[in-house]
Amino acid sequence: MAAILTVENLSMEYASGNRQLSVLQSINISIEEGETVAITGPSGSGKTTLMGLCAALDNPTSGAITLFGNLVNPLSEDERAIMRNKNIGFIFQNFQLLPSLTAIENVMLPLELQGVKGAEKEAAALLDRVGLKDRMTHYPSQLSGGEQQRVALARAFINKPKLLFADEPTGNLDGDTGATVESLMFDLNRDFGTTLIIVTHNPELAAKTGRVIQLKSGLVVSDTINVSSTQSN
């Protein structure tokens, strides 16, 4: 299969007072279409930084990122925005719904940004799929944490993304709710044939992916194929 994401010699440094802080050092990764990947590691290992760079949300200090066959580095902010809108979905630990939009409006948003007509129908179908048929016109503040994350799931899949980034998707949820969201995420991922990259501390969640990349102090310390998961997924 073709690589959907390639990272070559990726480094990231921040200025911290008078000295430079190295967060990522010469990372090389290649992720193929349809893979499910977990990026794990202790706090401060560079997981979130790596995800931000891979999702074209930030610029690296050095190194190259290729997404969907295109080199990201030279793209303008507008070109990156279009790329994210058309090909990438996001799920965040703190849900990140727009508080002033209803559930359905939040879900429609990526399609509306593309100028797609009739987004409402698709959004309603997805909300139905995640079990929120009766909550469509509710504002985020009127929904529970689990319901908010399900809205976020529906939004992440509405543009039929090639690549889905999930940042600790169950980190803010209790065990049962987390399990429901997890299973919905994997189900949708399978149905839409999306490549999934999850950033997580949770070894159980990581174990459900086909590949686990472990980071420590900005370096890839292991990159293993999870055979049992690959078989089950």
Binding site: A15, T48, M51, G52, A55, L57, D58, E77, D78, A81, I82, M83, R84, N85, K86, I88, F90, F92, Q96, L97, L98, P99, S100, L101, E105, L109, P110, E112, L113, Q114, G115, Y139, S141, R155, D167
Partner: protein, 843 residues
């Protein structure tokens, strides 16, 4: 198009749950535009009214006036005008009211002919406007009638003559209410003027001649061909057109003041706009980051919020224009005592359009400053709370917006003041004040950081540290509160300086009463009367009136033909009131030369000149001046120069002759005294008016009272206008404190969570806000002290005597307001459980 509609829809949806957050933004715009429209409407209507009423104000097509009777030659020219003629003589005098046994300083107007030709003398009963024109009848100013309890039919004695009051005068031609407060007018006919005995050689009389021409006669053209001739005499010739110009000039100060207030209100409004939009953008950062993360382009994200702000701004500007148009109708009521015309207040389309255009432009520009930062909000914020988007970047668009703000403000001020220099000076003043305030804030933060004692209590340390912690609003708050404080305090200080300078004239041994128009044969009896009242004769000086016939070897006529003449007209044409003595008085200083005695015979006469007069006539020591003393030519030389102090009430003369020259010339005397109290003053004044009816008495207490009255009215207007600035300032203050609220909220919640008591949180916040208030108000007042000092010294030329109480009042008031608004902002944290507050803020 569909993309724009999407942005419009997103803007609408996004604003749904946040409109209350934009209330401050709206209030700032509404107040700023209200002030602008109200004040400019009034200004334009006043100008229009002056134009419309100019003929009525002048009362004639052409009026000529002078402080001496017109020269025969000039009068012949004026009388050749094919016109109906009228004449008026006006002088200040004392009137005695038998009914109350009191006296009053008045303005006597004796009229001959059908003046005014345009407009009417407003009287009650109406027919009194005709009956006073014959016999011993008088019209008396309404204010005097009310003050003395006079009614039609009562008597009033002016000079030596008793008049019957035939009517109440409710408005004289071309003067304002403020003038009649100082000296109420009494109208009599010209034929009865002689009987008062007030017309004496040397009496201060204003002569006026009025002409009404046929409608098709071009009086301005007629005047312009004879301009030179009128100029050679000390005669002011005025047509309706001239009056319009003069009035507009006279009211330019009022215009400037009102413009200043409007602009300050608008500017404060703009600061309010910028800071409330900044609050809004800050509260929206996460949503913007998410939109960006989901694929919205930077400029589209900017447009979503720009549309929201512009549409709300538009509503605010329209509301401001409507409220301003309504409020304008109050202004003429406030200012009626200072206006020569009653101002109708129709809607002024120009003011409304100007308010709309300027309001919308500055609102847009000032809100753009925080709005353009939206472009730079990183989508990475969805993953991390702390992202520094500005690190190492310069946003040139912000510089371009600042430049546009500068241009728009300068342009608007230029239109308003018709002077590019004034406009630039004003904008420069604001920039300097801004840098002073923010510079001081910067220094304070630096100093605080180093100087908080390590052993200070937790509350004090925490409160003061908030002033320099990351994301502090110290600089913004200091600039906004400081600006408001500076403007208000400057206005109040200047008002108190004016009042204090007038009051000082009466302090200590300074004279407070002048008696003038005393005939030489009355002086001894008057001195006896003064001594009988145990009052000192501080000065008794003779006064001789004369004209200047020539100087430095040329006649006046020759000089007037000479294009190289540097002399000022007022010095050349004035009827000089001259005294004679061989000594220097207390309020004079000899600058050069000596006071030379006159030895009689062919000895040269050396006169002493006041420096101001010498400069105006363009003469120096030794130069020749020829005077015409009521027909007799006197050749004199400049023997000395004096600097004259004009601060207190006493006689002072630009020209002093030596003793022995003018003793035999027709003259009158002036006596200066000091009364210890109002009762003695009133009794003495009555006695003088009864025994010497031709003598005029000017007492400083009455003048002081009138000036106080006028200044109090002015103060009220200033305060009303300043209210606009104050209200807008309050909005700005609230906006700025709201900004700091967002920074402090989480910290306070955390402190509450780990066990800080309600009282500790209150004290921490109170410390921070009290310090902020003190610093801001202090700096603002400091700027006001410097500004008012410069204006007082270099513009008003007065002593810098400040009443500290109102200044202190402003300071304490502002500190209290800052603390109260700050505390109100944090009441949620103090009164509710921490998580409830957090939930509410996140909704």
């Amino acid at each position: 198009m569909s993309h724009f509609l999407f942005l419009l829809r997103t803007a609408y949806k996004d604003s749904r749950k946040n409109r209350s957050k934009l209330a401050l933004f709206m209030s700032s715009i509404v107040l700023g535009v209200t002030a602008l429209v109200a004040i400019n409407s009034f200004n334009y209507n006043l100008r229009k009214e002056i134009d419309r009423e100019a003929a009525t104000l002048l009362g004639a097509d052409l009026a000529a006036s002078s402080n001496r009777p017109g020269e025969v030659e000039v009068m012949q020219i004026l009388d050749s005008l094919p016109a109906e003629k009228a004449r008026q003589m006006e002088l200040m005098s004392m009137a005695y009211i038998p009914k109350t046994d009191e006296t009053q300083f008045i303005r006597l107007k004796a009229i001959e002919g059908n003046f005014p030709f345009y407009g009417k003398i407003k009287t009650y009963p109406i027919e009194a406007a005709a009956t006073f024109r014959s016999g011993q009848n008088a019209l008396v100013d309404e204010s005097l009638m009310i003050a003395q309890g006079l009614v039609t039919g009562d008597s009033i004695k002016v000079g030596k003559s008793m008049f019957e009051i035939v009517g109440k005068l409710s408005g004289s031609i071309g003067s304002t209410g403020a003038v009649s407060t100082v000296a109420p007018a009494i109208y009599i006919n010209m034929a009865s003027l002689d009987s008062t005995g007030l017309v004496q050689p040397g009496s201060l009389i204003e002569y006026a001649y009025f002409y009404r021409v046929a409608e098709d006669f071009d009086v301005d053209k007629w005047k312009s061909t004879r301009k030179k001739l009128f100029r050679s005499d000390n005669l002011r010739v005025e047509t309706v057109q001239d009056r319009k110009q003069n009035l507009n000039q006279a009211f330019s100060f009022l215009n400037y003041f009102l413009n200043l207030v409007a602009i300050v209100a608008l500017l404060l409004g703009c600061i309010g706009v910028a800071s409330s939009v900044l609050i809004y953008v800050k509260s929206k950062t996460n949503s913007i980051a998410l939109l960006r993360c989901l694929g919205m382009k930077p400029w589209d994200a900017f447009l979503v919020y720009f549309i929201q702000i512009t549409l709300l701004g538009l509503i605010g500007v329209i509301a401001g224009a409507i409220i301003g148009a309504l409020i304008q109708s109050i202004l003429p009521l406030l200012l009626k005592d200072f206006l020569p015309v009653s101002v109708n207040m129709p809607l002024s389309p120009r003011a409304i359009i100007e308010g709309f255009v300027v309001g919308l432009s500055v609102t847009t520009l000032f809100s753009l400053l925080p709005l353009v930062t939206i472009r730079n909000i990183s989508p990475l914020r969805t993953l991390r709370a702390a992202v520094d988007e500005t690190a190492g970047k310069r946003d040139y668009l912000r510089y371009a917006i600042l430049a546009a703000i500068f241009l728009v403000l300068t342009g608007f001020l230029w239109i308003l003041t018709s002077s590019l220099v004034t406009a630039l000076a004003f904008v420069a003043g604001i920039v300097v004040a801004y840098f002073l305030l923010s510079g001081f804030a910067y220094l304070t933060i630096k100093l605080l950081r180093k100087s908080i004692p390590t052993n200070a209590g937790f509350v004090l340390k925490q409160g003061l540290s908030n002033l320099f912690r990351p994301d502090n609003q110290t600089q913004t708050i200091m600039v906004t509160i400081g600006m408001g404080a500076a403007v208000l305090t400057t206005l109040i200080i200047l008002q108190s300086i004016l009042l204090n300078n007038v009051s000082l004239m009466d302090k200590g041994k300074q004279p407070n009463m002048i008696l003038y128009g005393i005939e030489s044969n009355q002086i001894d009896s008057l001195k006896d009367l003064t001594i009988a009242y145990k009052l000192p004769v501080i000065q008794q000086v003779p006064v001789v009136t004369m004209k200047i016939d020539g100087w430095k070897g040329k006649t006046k006529a020759q000089w007037l033909e000479d294009t190289t003449m540097n002399s000022k007209k007022w010095a050349v044409n004035r009827e000089a009131r001259v005294s004679y003595r061989d000594t220097i008085s207390d309020d004079e200083k000899l600058i050069s030369g000596t006071l030379s005695n006159y030895k009689g015979g062919t000895d040269s006469i050396f006169v002493s000149l006041g420096t101001t007069f010498a400069e105006a006539l363009d003469v120096s020591l030794g130069d020749e001046i020829v005077f015409n003393v009521q027909g007799t030519r006197l050749v004199t030389y400049v023997g000395s120069m004096r600097e004259i102090e004009f601060r207190n009430l006493s006689t002072r003369f630009f020209i002093i002759f030596p003793n022995g020259v003018l003793e035999k010339a027709p003259q009158f005397q002036v006596l200066v005294t000091k009364t210890p109290d109002n009762t003695t003053m009133s009794k003495y004044r009555s006695a003088v008016v009864k025994s010497f009816p031709n003598v005029s008495v000017i007492d400083l207490t009455t003048i002081l009272q009138s000036v106080n009255d006028i200044l109090n009215k002015v103060a009220f207007i200033i305060q009303f206008m300043a209210l606009f600035s104050l209200l807008t300032g309050m909005i700005v203050l609230i906006s700025s404190l709201m900004l700091s609220k967002y920074q402090r909220l989480k910290e306070s919640i955390l402190l509450r969570t780990i066990g800080a008591t309600k009282s500790q949180i209150i004290r921490i916040n109170a410390t921070e806000y009290a310090f902020l208030g003190t610093l801001s108000a202090g700096t603002g007042v400091g700027i006001a002290l410097i500004t008012s000092f410069l204006i007082t010294k270099f513009q008003l030329d007065l002593d810098y005597n400040i009443s500290w109480l109102p200044v202190l009042g402003i300071m304490v008031g502002l500190i209290l307001i800052t603390v109260v608004v700050g505390m109100l902002n944090s009441r949620d944290v103090v009164n509710n459980p921490p998580l409830e507050v957090l939930r509410k803020e996140n909704e």
